[in-house]
Point group: C5
Chain length 354, copies 5
């Protein structure tokens, strides 16, 4: 199950802007790739030293610097210096326990997002923190480890079809945002399937295991919710913000991402509603089953206790028990027992217990 909170305590007491990587070390080496393009040219390379980035800063083309792996603090420090990033921004990039947010620093906009993906090993939802720096002609993206979520965008830049190459850095940032939000739909589809499967199980054969899966799903929903809700505000302030870094033509696309976010939130809330409805059903069916069990017990006891009692009476050893000597005593008692038994069964049927 995803941990509700990360170890942050190692930062307590340090001055603000101190760069400490908080989170798991998900990759071995920090890898920096550069993709520089305008409408006519594309240039792509992986760089060894941070300094190779800086020349692109002053070119009129759009530059996308992608950083995979956050644990090499010194590389980030250099990058931050070169692009004039505020120490608090660097601190937030390294602290992978951020809440999604957007901060406008005038020269650049800093955006934090949570990329959700399904961890196949643990069969659970996991989150990776994505940070974006949007400048006038560059975008720097930070990922905790190498991933393939941005590959389709790279492909679109390379083949030069569509709007991508004609638009600026803000459109690139939008495209990155959009691909993160699109990923939520995949997660939600998976969760939706799990919910339907569980609902099926609930109706046909609920077990304590069903309950634990329900609980697990609820926990995952809390987790997804925590990642998605703040996103709404993030994108909404990007869209309506006054930053000159985002052009009017791009805003309409941001509104589209915003709509998707609302849809994701809507679906998460619907799932939550459905899950709590399912818990009610589970509890009711436990109660129903208890009722069924108790009815069986009561029917058995109610039939056999009086009969056993009668048998007990004629098992007594009194010397003067005239019935014992009767010729038809035994069959008569058996018949009486039969009558009592049948009468009981009928009265149960009337009470609709059978």
């Amino acid at each position: 199950m995803p941990k509700p909170i990360k170890k942050r305590s190692k930062k307590v007491g340090l001055p603000p802007g101190t760069l400490v990587h908080i989170g798991e070390k998900k990759s071995e080496k920090t890898k920096i790739t550069i993709l520089n393009y305008d409408e006519l040219h594309v240039q792509e390379k992986e760089i060894k030293t941070v300094d190779e980035c800086f020349p692109f800063k002053d070119e009129p083309t759009v530059t996308w610097i992608n950083v995979d792996g956050l644990h090499q603090v010194e590389i980030l420090e250099k990058l931050g210096e070169g692009f004039g990033l505020h120490p608090l921004v660097l601190e937030d990039i390294l602290n992978t326990d951020q809440r999604p947010k957007m901060e406008d620093y005038g020269d650049y906009i800093y955006i934090v997002l949570k990329l959700l993906y399904h961890n196949n090993k643990s069969n659970e939802i996991a989150a990776e923190q994505i940070s974006l720096i949007l400048g006038s002609n560059f975008v720097i993206s930070f990922q905790e480890k190498e991933g393939d979520v941005f590959n389709p965008i790279r492909e679109r830049i390379r083949n030069g079809k569509g709007r991508m190459r004609k638009m600026g850095a803000d459109y690139l940032a939008y495209a990155l945002l959009d691909s993160v939000v699109d990923n939520y739909f995949i997660i939600l589809e998976k969760l939706g399937e799990k919910i339907e499967f569980l609902e099926e199980e609930l109706v046909t054969n609920p077990t304590p295991k069903t309950l634990h899966e329900l609980h697990h799903l609820k926990r995952e929903m809390i987790f997804v919710r925590k990642s998605v809700w703040p996103l709404r505000e993030v994108i909404s302030s990007l869209e309506r913000g006054e930053s000159s870094l985002i052009k009017e033509t791009t805003r309409i696309y941001l509104r589209d991402v915003y709509d998707h976010t609302i849809q994701v939130i809507d679906t998460v809330e619907t799932f939550r509603d459905m899950l709590s409805g399912m818990l009610d059903i589970y509890l009711s069916s436990i109660s129903n089953r208890l009722n069924a069990v108790m009815k069986v017990l009561t029917i058995i006891a109610t039939i056999f206790m009086p009969l056993t009692f009668i048998a007990g009476i004629y098992g007594m050893n009194f010397q003067y028990m005239p019935e014992l000597g009767w010729r038809w005593g035994y069959p008569i008692v058996l018949f009486i027992m039969l009558v009592i038994g049948v009468f009981m069964l009928i009265s149960f049927r009337r009470k609709k217990w059978l």
Copy 2:
């Protein structure tokens, strides 16, 4: 039960504005009909090629273009081009998993709605996505399949009575909206009847089946709610919006639709309240019945266990048990048993268990 989420994953990674139809293919062929009218003339025809629409764009009359079936992407593409629709609008029309919304693109307004109807086959509520494009002198409506929900409006245009023919495209859009909202009342009436039926059943004879129907109704309510809540905002922004496409005289009618929407929402919330009250009742009556069952068991056990014990005592084979030899031992024991049994019954009656 309506699916909580549609397969959207096939779109992940594609550039925005890529036209892919998301949703079931509900009709075989895309059918386009045109209804062109002003106060004096009406012209109605089904067209074969999209190009036949475009001349109407520049005529002063009102033109209603209705498109049934969304899967022929190329037709929509052409239509979008001819009427200058933004690629994102076309994308949204094709993606039938939209949340109701309204977007003002200056030249035209784009509205998405959910038409709810009762699917008689599956005995469930189903939804169809309706998209409207309102231009200065035209309305384009998109339906997933041919339906009869707009027929009364067609009829009103044809016979030329009432306000319809005298008003512009905005009034036509209003009329379409209104007929969608009116449909919600039919759905709500149906749900209301189901709820009353269930409530009756709950009082007289609750079974596990009742619980599952309750659950099902709750699910349907979540579904209806999801379609109706955003509608409120849609119509409210149409009414209060600054678009010059909607004339002052039409706004008063939009306010009327707005009122209806509020009423629908109100009723949905009332139904939800009622359903959760009914679940409480169900759970209580299960508990009550368990109590009743346990009382029967306890009464039987409490009466017969002591009696059986007494019978057991006189069934023991000790050589020296003086009572066994007594002349009246047997009747005395029977009498004692009777006294104990009657005493038990009286004490149960005092506890109000009988």
Copy 3:
């Protein structure tokens, strides 16, 4: 129980402004009475034809036209025409399933209210729709049937004491509103008594019937709530509205009605809180009673099962059972049984089960 929703489906598909009466036909004949007054004169009459109203429109005196019964659509149509009412207003007056609302049409203000009353026949709360049209010098009120709720106001106008006769039509409208809101207090008192009675019953002797009454009260509360909540907004917009139809001196009285409405809402919410607390109590006392029942069963079984077993042992027919031949075997066994029984009772007392 009040129906959650009325048959509206017969209106679906009709153009807006089509006059169809929705709701039960509560009175036989539409009855129109006119009360015309200024500070010095009062004139009161019942009219036969609608045309008799119209001359009052241009007089400087205040005219109150009261219409009882809504099913004669043609009368309303004429009245609407004569006073220049918008077709949508007439439609709303006839549709008795309205949510309370207020609409400012410039020349006149249209107000819809729900009058709640206790139907003594069915012992339930029922609602009647009251519509008010406030013009510059007239008020038209529409009731579903003849009622006595406005009689005290009529009396105040007739005897000419107090502020009534000196003030304009807006004060009359306020007085009508006020008497409707005052009626809510009567309903709430009745509900409050029922709640207290039920609470008493819950503590002393809860039965499944108590539960159903609880459920019934909850339903009634949902019903009252639905009528009262929107009223708040109605009166608040009348008070703060910019309409010149309402004079400054009347606003202070509207603020008073507003306060009453808030108080009604407050009480309704308090009642809801109390009812849900009572349900918890009910469920707990069922569980408590189940516990009590089970304790009795367990005590009986735990005492008599071991004893019966011992009796069973000495009821076995083995040839070599030395105890059976002992002189004091029987009394010793009886004594052992007594010891076991007493020991059990003591241990139950220690567990506080007795």
Copy 4:
């Protein structure tokens, strides 16, 4: 338990401003005391006729008129006339079922509050309505009966220490408000003690009585909440209001009262949270106890039923039962029974039932 609603129905139908005392008659006689002071002088007297108040109205000193007892309507009427109070204000003073509110009438401000106190007789929280009229140089306070809540303020005026005598009527009104709010803390402390006591009881020895006390506390909390929530708005509008009756120097003190009110509300909400958590605990411990009871029953039944059955077998009277004649039959059977019993006990221990 405090009544949720008072008899208001006797006012229904009366014109606004009709003075009727609603509420219990809590005192025998209306008592009016006057306290007139400035920085140098204090004058204190109890007056017989209302007219004695009026001369103070035009003096530059601060005058505090305190009225205990509301049932003598004619006195209030005179007072209202003399100080130019609006009839609706008088009506609200008499109606002790008011929601706390503040109304600015220009010349004076009208404030209604609820004074909560612990009724020692019924061991319950009770409320008294306090009305304040703040004029430019006077404060009129109305209490339902004589009380000692304002005595410390009187004392502070008399001894002339502190800020009191140097400040105006607005500071006096603040002081009265402050002492009412301070009283809430006493009530909350009492409730807090009750909650802690109940929590202790819940953990050590929950009984149905505990549940009823829990319910009672919840009811009291609803009651306190209803009195406190509106107060927030009252004081906030006094503080931020534009009335020239409240001087800038006093506003800072009002902000302090406001903070106290927020703290009271905070505590009430915390208590509510705690109480609902306690109900959950109660329900769980009932279930736990049911489980414990059932385990005892099941253990007893599971051990003795098979044993009794075996004893029953050898109690059968078949002629040909070879075991009966065996020399060691009896001890062997006893040994088998012992083995079965021990085996059962071990398996219960494994299931952690023992």
Copy 5:
């Protein structure tokens, strides 16, 4: 468990600004330390008399006066006089039952915070009230007792690295705030661990003790929540406030603290969601276990009751019971009993009870 409310009643009736220490006396002596610094110099000393502080007031350097221990009221009074603090501020500093708040008095800003720490003795969360006075060139901090929470800040001032020494008093206040908020993360980590441990226990072996720990955690969460929620508003108004005491360069740091606060709140809410989910799980598993217990009982009873009855029949002493004389009677009966037992077991397996 932390007390929900402190004894405030001793203040009731006293005039505002009366200095009374409310809360536990946590330290023996009031200790005042002064830290005076600018970019080049640092001076640190513990002072004996309050008067030693006042000279620093007029120096251009930044002065941090830290007061540990609040019970010596006269020291605070003097300090307040010297720095021109409003009596209400002093009152609030002494009353350790404050809600976190921020008040701008023009010359200085008053901030109240709750420092949460884990009390190792009672193994509970405890709170200490921290008050800050931010002037143009000084910060006064008040703690209930000596603590080490501000030591890292002292260290940073002493060693002169980083931004600290170059910035003004507002940055110092920020640093103090930040260290308080950082402490919340430590608390939350601890709570998070407890929750995970409890969740583990809940799945493997839930006991009534688990429930009480759950309840305890819920209570602690209510406590943390109460301290953290108002903080959000405090920091947000500092950040967006118009006070000239906070420089533009510091605001960006406050925004950072604000983000942390939001994150803390988010985590608290997530924990609350998780805890209530866990309660549901607990209740369900109790029910599940009851079901399991009852099944065992029912299986045993259903198998042995009929068998014992049969044995009882052949234990009857009728003279004419032909079966008793049969040669194979005994084995036949045993076989029948076996068949019945096996049949029962099979039918239980079919019902999935075994």
